[in-house]
């Protein structure tokens, strides 16, 4: 199950962060997302030598904490997508698929002429769309 998704801008500032837990770990998830940016930096600065990774937007598993697994995705405009899951066994393809949908939703949200690039995304439609995607991921990974 995805417990948190985030979009992080160029200056590593949060553009959108939403947690899907009822528990008390929202702040902790903020920390987890923030820390995962270190891994993104590391991955971007030391790219793998292997070929297929070169133009890959999906960064894969960033780091496991005791309870979560953090996955990352980097668009070609250097906007970072982070998702935090509680599942210890997630299929890579599922995560890729999730990020693709997430990216599409983001593109739609920033294409809004009233959105100022670089500012936080406050669109309610976007939030609803994201929670739908997150729910769909939960169903697919469970099934």
């Amino acid at each position: 199950m995805i417990v948190c998704v985030a979009i992080v801008g160029h200056q590593n500032n949060p553009l959108y962060i939403q947690s899907f837990t009822d528990g008390d770990d929202a702040l902790k998830l903020h920390h987890v997302v923030h820390c995962s940016l270190d891994v993104v930096d590391e991955r971007v600065n030391n790219p793998k030598k292997s070929g297929p990774m070169l133009n890959e937007t999906y960064l894969g598993l960033l780091y496991p904490t005791e309870n979560y697994k953090v996955y990352g995705y980097l668009t070609n405009t250097k906007v970072k997508f982070i998702s935090v899951t509680t599942d210890l066994d997630v299929k890579d393809a599922d995560v890729r698929n999730f990020f693709r949908k997430f990216h599409a939703a983001y593109v739609d949200a920033v294409s809004n002429p009233f959105h100022v690039p670089g500012k936080k995304i406050t669109s309610k439609t976007f939030a609803e769309r994201i929670s739908t995607i997150v729910k769909a991921f939960g169903l697919s990974s469970a099934g």
């Binding site: 030391n46 990774m53 960033l62 500012k119």
Partner: protein
Amino acid sequence: MEEYPDELRNPPVALISLVGCPEHHPAISSYLHSQQHPINVLALPDFSKVPVVLAKKVKDSGSEDPPGGILKRDWLLKHRTKIPALVAVLFSSLDVSGGPTQWLQVCSDLENLKAAIRPRNVKLVVVVVLQSSSAELHADGNNEDRMIALKKRAEVDSKYLLMYTPNDVSELKQSLDRLGNVFSELASAHYREEGRRIRTKVEKRGYNFPELHMRYCFKVAIYAEFRRDWNEALKFYEEAYRILWQMVGTKTRLPPIQRIVEINSVAEQLQFKISTLLLHGGKVLDAVQWFCQHNVACRRLVRVTEAPYLHWEWMSRQFLVFAELLETSSATMQSISSFVVGGTDRTLTEWEFRPAYYYQLAATYLKKKQSSLEISLSMTDNSSEADSSIDSVVPSTYVGQFARLLEQGDELSMQPLSDEQYVQYTLAEGKRFQDSYEIIALLKRAYESYSSLKAQRMGSTCGLDIAKEYFFLNNYVNTKQVCDDIITLYRQEGWVALIWEVLGYLRECSRKLGAVKSFIEYSLEMAALPVLPDTSITFLGFMESGPAGLPSLQQREHIQKEVMELFGKDSRDGLSVEKSTDLRLTEENPLNLEIDFVSPLRTVMLASVAFHEQMIKPSVSTLITLSLLSQLPLSIQIDKIDLQFNQPQCNFSIINKERYTSTTMISSVQQSQRMENASSLVLTTNRWLRLTFEIKSEQSGKLECVSIIVKLGPHFSIICRAERPASMDDLPLWKFEDRVETFPTKDPTLALTGQKATQIEEPEPLVDLALVATGPALVGESFIVPVTISAKGHDVYSGELKINLVDVRGDGLFSPRETEASFLDGHHVELLGIAGAEQEGKSQGSDSNINRIQQSFGLVSIPNIKNGETWSCELEIKWHQPKPIMLFVSLGYSSQEKDSTSQKINIHKSLQIEGKIAVTINHRIMLPFRRDPLLLSMVKPFNDADQLVSLPLGESNVLIVSASNCTEIPIWVESLSIETDFISASSSCCIKPGSGPESTGSTLLVAEEEYKKVFTVKPEVDSAPLSLGIVCLRWRRDPGHHEPSTIVTTKHRLPHVNVEVPTLIVSSECPPYAVLGDPFTYFVKIQNRTPLLQELKVLLSDSQSFLMSGTHSGTVFVLPKSDHVLSYKVIPLSSGTQQLPKYSLTSSRYSAGFQPSSAASTIFVFPSKPLFKGANDRGKNLESVATI
């Protein structure tokens, strides 16, 4: 890792035992130690100790009882330090080859030894120590037999009977090598056999309990390690580990909690061994993967509900140990990225190869342990009574087991513990330790490690955890320090929730420490954080948000209220913030908060200042707009705003009328300042408060708004640096928010271009500076340029006149090339003086008036001039070379008397003046008319171009000097004379003015007119070269209507001449004019001045105009120092200017020809005899002219 026993941390080392001949033990031990694969030595000095060491407990092997535990605590230590793999018995060669008693002793010792080592399956080596040389031994046949007997008795192979020769250095080395090889071979054989023995037990399943299975596997692995077979060791450790987890569910006689603790302890040891082996083998990836599996397995482990802290503590230790192991082997991990395999099978990430990650997790688990221990402690308050019973709890013989030590008389016995007792024991142990310090230490290690990896964000998280731990320990100073470090990153990246959390700690620490300023700063920053009402839903889940509370609009408002109360007047009444009575702002302790361009508090108060005009005239008012913006959630009432400029007299204050009148703190200084009233000064969230006022300045230059002081309450003010709207940075944090953004000024253009500074122009000069020049200047004269200063509007004080002469071409007044030539002359144009100013300067005495004149620069101080008055002076400039120059004159003065600070007013004037040469002087030297001397230098001309003019000695030559005016300015020539420049000249040469009428007074020369004067020059001495002297022309400029100008003398040096003695002089004589048809005689007179006979050829050509009689050609001989005259009778045939018949003479001696010039042979022929009045006089006169 340090808490593990030595034998576990270090790989096992083979152990052997030495018996007998104790004096040789040290040498052998140290040799074996220093080997590549060292061997530990158990040195037993005499044989009696051997059975004690090797004693074996009698085991009832057939017993069906389950074992007491999994691993015995001292088993490994025993094998490492007590039970040797082999016993090397040392006999002296003297004993072996000695008498029967000695031999018997050897035999009995050997028998005893054999008996002792048999049950342990320990190997035996017999070493004979040679006391004398080996040659002696071999020579003795008796010895040979003894050795064979000894071998037989010892029942050893012949290669295990060794000789040891300590006395010979070369032999010693060899025998030591031999010993070392045999020992290591036998030791490894022993461990292999032991391992194989137990392995067969495992394979044949010769055990009834999983404990034994596990224990056997462990032992096999240890024996493998003894002989450095790491792969087998690893295999059996892993096997043991696998079996261990299978035992979790099985029942034993141990109570459940202690059972799990035992399994955990054993698992820990196995895990440590496996990780060490993998890491030392360089298999980092395997090690990490193994640890991950271990970690997963640990999590699956059934937790002990009664004592959860035990589990957390154990987990924490797992991570700590692995982190330490990883750190020690980090040298082998050069590139982490190579481990992180790409593709689908990515289960490990970068941080999992870093010790920092494990340190951090260790700290996390320890924190969990701490909190669960606290809960457990709070639940058991009757700990005091149980204390006595758990006093004597000690670790028992098995790993991970504890027992109570009971003293029964002299005997000690172990009594098993019940789970309750064990829990009590652990609680009591837990109380003894301060986990917080341990947590901080772990986090610090993680923090440092992350910092070195440049993983700032991970580091910051660790830092925050450290801060929390310090806060928990009430160490507020450290908390504040750590928080201050990490908040910078969060601010930079705009993670509002994280900033909120950290600020919460900082604010609380400041409150606890009684630091008012920082408390207010942090509170205001928190209150101004972009936590918006619609986003606060996101943060509802925050429970552990620390002292900050939930980030919400309500909380922000609450914080702001709390701070505002601190500023407010109420604080004096004791109604201050209820929790912090020591935080108070008083009259003695006012607070000024400074906000600069990079301060995070810019969100609290942002001040922008814009002048409406970029350039204004002095004393003319312009508008200035002050705009204030705040993101605080509640509106603020401002008491007073002070605007401060770089020109302090422009400072002014804006007062909130309704609030400020109640306070009576207007000091005298403030009263002198300008005050403006504003009806209300209320700053609402995200709305610009715009105030526009007039401003004017008297002083020219830059007028810049420096700071704005906003007073809130009696003792608190915020000092904002003024920002200009044109280039204002975005608000930190708020720039990411989707908020309404407005311009700081109403006029959007001003918002884009507005500056916080304006330029004030210089005051207009009301003074006339006039420069007049009358035409071009003439070289040599003192040219006068009058300068007039007239005050037309205000007075002139402390004025200064600067004069500069600048070459028009811009390359200075003399070019570098000319510098050398005219070095002595100095400047081509020179400022001689300033007339009219010097007198003033002198009259003012020794005042500090400046009056300096250099060649091209002058500085004159001018007296004070009242309004309407004029003052003038004259610049005297002299040209040495004809050159155009630019004259710059600038006047700097102030319009106020005794006001040194007031601005200087400057006026600049310039004038281009041409410099011209006034007169040019030429000269001509002529010979007398129709008289031509033959000078030898003319006959044989030298090639020199600069050949001097030759003058015949004793002849009167004519010198015509002409001076022509080459300017448009008429000049008066006063006189023209020739000055001879040396005394002897008077005797060598006679120069006198021509005999013409002497002009008296001066002559006016207009443009291009020439003035001529004739001189006769008669050289009297034959000296070459002869200086003729200098022409001195004295002239002056035509003054016009002005006063007469000074006389200037222009000098012109005449060239040198040669004086020669003429050889022949030919002169022709004829009347001044002729009359048509009237015959006259034409004489050609040849004078021979030489003492030689001269032969001359004469040739005369006919002329159409004349009828002539006389020889046409012939040769004449002229006697020395005598004359010869040729005479021709000539009748003119036509009138007008006619050419006389031309004659030519050729001197054969000098090969020089002579022909008179056409001018000399021209004569005017009147058609009839002219009738002149006084013709006789005139004729005389003409004659005289002609004979010159």
